[in-house]
């Protein structure tokens, strides 16, 4: 393989070393953006309860939940207030005790700025917890199915940002036995430090959570993957493993810092050296991957009977006077969190939901933090690259190709997407793009490549939806045409029958013409 690459590199003028594209034991490409982890040393602070909590009824990938409480009801902390419908869904729980003020549409953190059904809860300040869920301390004696159901009922989703319902991954499947559980403590996005702080301050919960996952999927080994820019987290996790006595089957793997190492498929490639094929899931190669925050949430749900009602968020960015890691209730409005960090005047500020590489700019300010909120960045509008850069023509330097962690050709792909040639785009594996932003980051012409790919993906989905609707309409229209034709044929048959019988009767006897007259009138009426 290296020899072949060398020869291929030679063909392209000798200057290109294609071996540099594939690093040993890791994923290809990647970038090293400035880390900006200014909150790495700030301990997690607990946020006070806001005057109102805004709880979106959908905070996961999948179907929206149905509220099971009514306006005016009193709810307790951890009480389920909306149940999931469908398989891919996760229920929503009240983050504190209080009264349901309304169930209405409210702006949610989404790049469209549109709203969605939300439950507005006014806290009563007592923070009474719903104690109905017992803890399963001896989880190793429990049936994995019970643990899986507990995780489903606790509303746990992937807290790394993808918010995929966690219980779906926790399946003991005979066809795909899980060998290794990888805990993702990489946190490769600049600015974000919430996972880092969780590992430092809740190391024991994280390790125990990993053990719960390993038991649930019958995995033999667990690996906690951490980048080498967090040596204190590495030590903390090693100590926590030693305290729990899991040295035999859980290890900490230190990885050289590189973005986007925290991507699920990239991390698996970096840790195991194996690639997850396109269109397949990690479980198909015997691996599952969970975020460290998710592991802590699993521990809290299983060992302490606490559903997911809070999470750690990094509040940072150049507009924030006192950046911090805050543990806040799900549904806390973002301006309330920013005010705790000293940012009260939001004029001229842009909010980014998530990290600077993959996060989305929020057009609305008064939105709640949700299960997927790992960071809120408040940036000055003038320091926001995407708002100030002018797109220039591609100079075909190929940097985007070198850094793409999935081995795509972003410049060619963007060309097709820009010209709405979505079929060609799909030939260039548009849907394998993980939208990590490496290509946009290195582009010297400031081409918003990822934006083109997001646009194209949306358009393809839209066209497919229209196609499916057209198929449905066509079937309905054809069924109608067939029915009309059949009805017409039936009418014609009836009319000819009436005419025939009428003629026969007239020939036989003129006295019996009343019946023929009525049926003739009847068929005439139907024909009109």
């Amino acid at each position: 393989m290296p020899g072949l690459l060398e020869r291929l590199g030679g063909l392209f003028g000798g200057g290109v070393d294609l071996r540099s594209l594939i690093s040993p034991g890791g994923f290809p490409g990647g970038v090293h953006p400035a880390q900006m982890k200014i909150t790495a040393a700030s301990p997690i602070v607990q946020s006070p309860l806001p005057p109102q909590l805004i709880l979106p009824l959908k905070q996961h990938i999948g179907q929206i939940c149905i509220p099971i409480v009514e306006v005016g009801d009193h709810v307790l902390r951890g009480q389920k207030v909306a149940r999931s419908q469908g398989y891919v869904s996760a229920p929503v729980h009240a983050p504190t005790s209080g009264t349901v003020l309304a169930i209405e549409e409210h702006a949610v953190p989404h790049p469209s700025g549109m709203g969605r059904q939300c439950m507005i809860i006014e806290p009563d300040g007592l923070d009474e917890a719903d104690q109905s869920m017992p803890s399963l301390c001896d989880y190793l004696d429990e049936d994995p199915a019970i643990i899986r159901e507990r995780i489903r009922l606790s509303g746990i989703v992937g807290l790394g940002g993808a918010v995929f319902p966690t219980f779906i991954k926790m399946l003991r499947d005979q066809r795909h036995p899980i060998e290794t559980v990888i805990l993702n403590g990489v946190e490769c996005e600049p600015f974000l430090t919430c996972d880092h702080r969780v590992m430092l301050e809740h190391g024991d919960s994280v390790v125990r959570g990993l053990n719960v996952i390993m038991h649930a999927v019958a995995a033999k080994g667990g690996i906690i993957a951490i980048e080498d820019n967090k040596p204190d987290a590495v030590d903390a996790m090693r100590e926590a493993i030693a305290r729990a006595g899991f040295e035999a089957n859980i290890e900490v793997r230190v990885l050289p810092t590189r973005y986007p190492q925290g991507g699920e498929k990239q991390l698996i490639q970096a840790v195991t050296g194996r690639q997850v094929p396109a269109g397949k899931l990690p479980l198909h190669i015997g691996v599952i991957c969970q975020n460290v925050g998710t592991a802590k949430a699993i521990h809290d749900a299983v060992c302490m009977g606490k559903p997911l009602t809070e999470r750690v968020v990094t509040i940072s960015g150049d507009a924030v006077p006192h950046p911090a890691n805050i543990c806040a209730r799900i549904g806390t409005p973002m301006p309330f969190l920013l005010a705790q960090c000293g940012l009260r005047d939001l004029s001229g500020v842009r909010l980014i939901h998530g990290g600077p590489m993959m996060g989305e700019r929020l057009p609305r300010m008064n939105v709640p933090m949700v299960k997927s909120t790992n960071g809120i960045l408040a940036m000055r509008a003038e320091s926001l690259y995407s708002e100030n850069a002018q797109e220039e023509p591609c100079i075909r330097c190929g940097h985007c190709v070198e850094v793409c962690p999935v081995g795509l050709v972003p410049n060619e792909l963007a060309w097709h997407c820009r010209n709405d040639q979505f079929d060609r785009g799909q030939e260039y594996d548009l849907f394998d793009c993980i939208e990590c932003g490496c290509c946009s980051y290195v582009c010297p012409s400031h081409i918003p490549l990822v934006h083109y790919f997001r646009y194209a993906k949306g358009q393809v989905a839209h066209i497919e939806k229209e196609r499916a609707f057209a198929e449905l309409s066509k079937a309905r229209s054809e069924a109608r045409d067939n029915r009309l034709a059949r009805e017409q044929a039936e009418r014609a048959a009836r009319r000819s029958k009436v005419r025939k019988s009428g003629a026969a009767e007239a020939a036989a006897d003129a006295s019996d013409d009343t019946e023929a007259g009525t049926s003739g009138a009847e068929s005439g009426e139907k024909a009109s």
Binding site: P50, P51, Q52, V108, H110, P111, S112, G113, M114, G115, R116, P333, P335, F336, A339, R344, D345, L346, S347, G348, V349, R350, L351, R361, P363, R364, M365, N366, A381, E391, R418, P448, H451, Y452, R454, Y455, K457, G458, Q459, A461, H462, I463, K465, E466, F469, A470, E471, L472, S473, K474, R476, S477, A479, R480
Partner: protein
Amino acid sequence: MNILMAVLLLGGLALAAGIVLAVASRVFHVEGDPMMERIDAVLPQTQCGQCGYPGCKPYATAVASGEADVNKCVPGGERAMLAIADLMGVPPKEVEEEAAPPMLAYIREDECIGCTLCIKACPVDAIIGAPKQYHTVVESHCTGCTLCVEPCPVDCIDMLSKPEVLEEWTWSAPGKASLVKLEGDSDARVA
């Protein structure tokens, strides 16, 4: 003699080829018009009649026979026109009318007299009801073709623009005027 052989040989070959062709045309016979089917497959199936034909299939038939232009489908827009032109192998033509934004029919039920005229007019059977009973539009089946508006004797059918929902939102192309207004500068609020 040689000439006779040549004539017989060629005649025999031609006869054999003719028989093969005749058999093939029977064995590999395709029901319907494949070109019409392919054009019909790229049409939006709203059955709206804006092309001047009573539905999508009649228009597809007319295009396939070369009778109609490729640019008559209004709701299909440029994309359908390009696809049809590509199938027919003719140069693309500008679509003259601009497609209206997606709409849904809505029946004001308290005014409906239950005459069933709209039910008869709906090309996709998206209206339910019975004589002297209220009618209503099945939202998920309505194509927004407006054909039900005209026959209604009491004018109780409105065409409402289709509500935008978050689930159907997609990114607009970079550089295009964004419909998303940023809140940062004007009405920034602190809760």
